[in-house]
Amino acid sequence: MQIYLPIAEVSVNIFLLLGLGGIVGVLSGMFGVGGGFLMTPLLFFIGIPPAVAVATEANQIVASSFSGVLAHFRRKTVDFKMGTVLLIGGLTGAAVGVVIFNYLKAQGQVDLLVKLCYVVFLGVIGSLMFVESLNALRKSRKNATVTTTRRQRGWIQALPFKTRFRTSGLYISVLPPLVVGLFVGILSAIMGVGGGFIMVPAMIYLLGMPTKVVVGTSLFQIIFVTGFTTLLHATTNYTVDMALAVLLLVGGVIGAQIGTQIGTRLRAEQLRILLAMMVLVVCFKLALDLLIEPSELYSLGAAGGH
């Protein structure tokens, strides 16, 4: 059954969209990521115009993150103070990101930027996570109890404007979270992702937050950043496709709940290694597209520089 998307102006199979939403939802539930980094390239692939894919995906992430954060609210694993600081950086970043996005769209380079961002970030995060989880898996085979303590954040401790984040049990400067938020905000506007796959490692390794509050806090601020991004895209580019978003999020929220169930049955190291491999596969595919001579050298865009 085909459905005509009013904003994207293409006709796509309704079950394909529900299925895509579902599969990405399962993965995002398993790994605790928004899934945007998988969904956006998949949307490009099925023929949704990139600008519409990026804007609509931001809207869908609001739904999946909201669904996820509710569980964390109940468990009280959301650091609101940290989330707010990240959010201030994130909103500023999103505004900057949309400006960059629109500028490059006018230059005809937006596809390149989006793809390059994907290749670089997926490549770096994927490799780091792969190596780290492989080591963790090896260690856990040797002796079952491994305690890793990361307390050497030297230069970060020396920064001014220190404040106490009670839920995270941290006493650090507000500058690092602001910068991390800003950076993820820019990426979320350009790449159409929540930025969870960058935010989560940054919170653990850079800010030293305890893992149990990381996912909830990340989701908390992602809701607002992607919500803001959605509004910006809707008002400046008119590229949010509500019909597409609804179909994706119906599949997505159901898939996410199933994914969470699967996730609880696997070991953390195994999960991380699977996620790392998936990230690397997507990265490899996108890199290949940039490196191999395309069969069609020409592409069409809306003219007029807007």
């Binding site: 009013p6 005809g108 020409y298 592409s299």
Partner: protein, 251 residues
């Protein structure tokens, strides 16, 4: 171009005494949520006062979607990766263009007539000036045709107009699912030995209706309301999914 086309219409074409009488299965295409393409039947008759004149008869049907400027980007290898380097703005290219003929186009239409009436796909696209740095501007126009052909938006189907007794003709044109809105300019040409002897014009109104219309208008006229509504739906769906699954697990 409109003015030119208008003037051309004023030139009397009825010297040979043949005239087109047209019927169409529909003069409106409604894009609904489940729109999956459409098929338009174009049929008609050739009205004449005298006996059938000599010369090979040709019937050409063209349907053109709204013309818009298109920027065409070309990729080149820079620093090992393929990036868009050259851009040419094609001034007007129809979003959809179908041409159906009763015989191979070059047999029933002279090049000068094609130039005057802009019948073939190549002629229907207008590209005035490319930047000075681009030496092969026609390659960009060709690319528009090639890409849109592969998307099913441009098509040329020769021998698809059936002509009966040199008087009745009919053809059907498939409209793909990825149509854009607008007035689809439909023309029927009657040719004798490659010369256009009669021409008929009409429009097919392609428009979104119902929910599609509502969402599209809202997104353009009230973008903030539209954006907030999108967010509200997202939040609601997230909350519903969460509480629904909690209920299942709770019981």
């Amino acid at each position: 171009m409109r003015i030119l086309a208008f003037l051309l219409c004023m030139i009397p074409l009825l010297a040979s005494g043949e005239e087109i009488v047209l019927g169409m299965s529909q003069d409106e295409v409604a894009i609904t949520a489940t729109f999956d393409g459409s098929n338009i039947l174009v049929f008609g008759a050739i009205k004449r006062e005298s006996s059938i004149p000599d010369g090979e008869l040709g019937v050409i049907v063209t349907i053109a979607g709204p013309s818009k400027p298109v920027s065409v980007h070309r990729k080149e290898r820079r620093f090992g990766i393929w990036v868009n380097t050259d851009t040419v703005e094609v001034d007007a290219a129809p979003s959809f263009y179908a041409i159906a003929t009763s015989a191979p186009l070059d047999r029933i239409l002279k090049d000068t007539e094609d130039l005057r009436h802009q019948i073939s796909i190549e002629r229907a696209i207008r590209s005035v000036g490319a930047p000075m740095t681009i030496t092969d501007a026609p390659a960009f126009t060709d690319a528009v045709i090639r890409i849109r052909k592969s998307q099913g938006l441009y098509k040329r189907s020769e021998n698809s107009v059936l002509v009966d007794q040199e008087t009745l003709f009919r053809t059907s044109v498939d409209m793909p699912a990825n149509l854009t809105e607008g007035d689809y300019f439909t023309r029927i040409f009657l040719t004798r030995d490659g010369q256009v002897v009669s021409e008929f014009e009409t429009t097919i109104d392609v428009k979104k209706v119902g929910l599609e219309r509502f969402l599209y208008n809202l997104s353009r006229q009230q973008p903030l309301v539209y954006g907030l509504l999108s967010l509200a739906i997202a939040i609601l769906a997230g909350w519903l999914a969460s509480s629904f699954f909690r209920m299942i697990r709770g019981t």
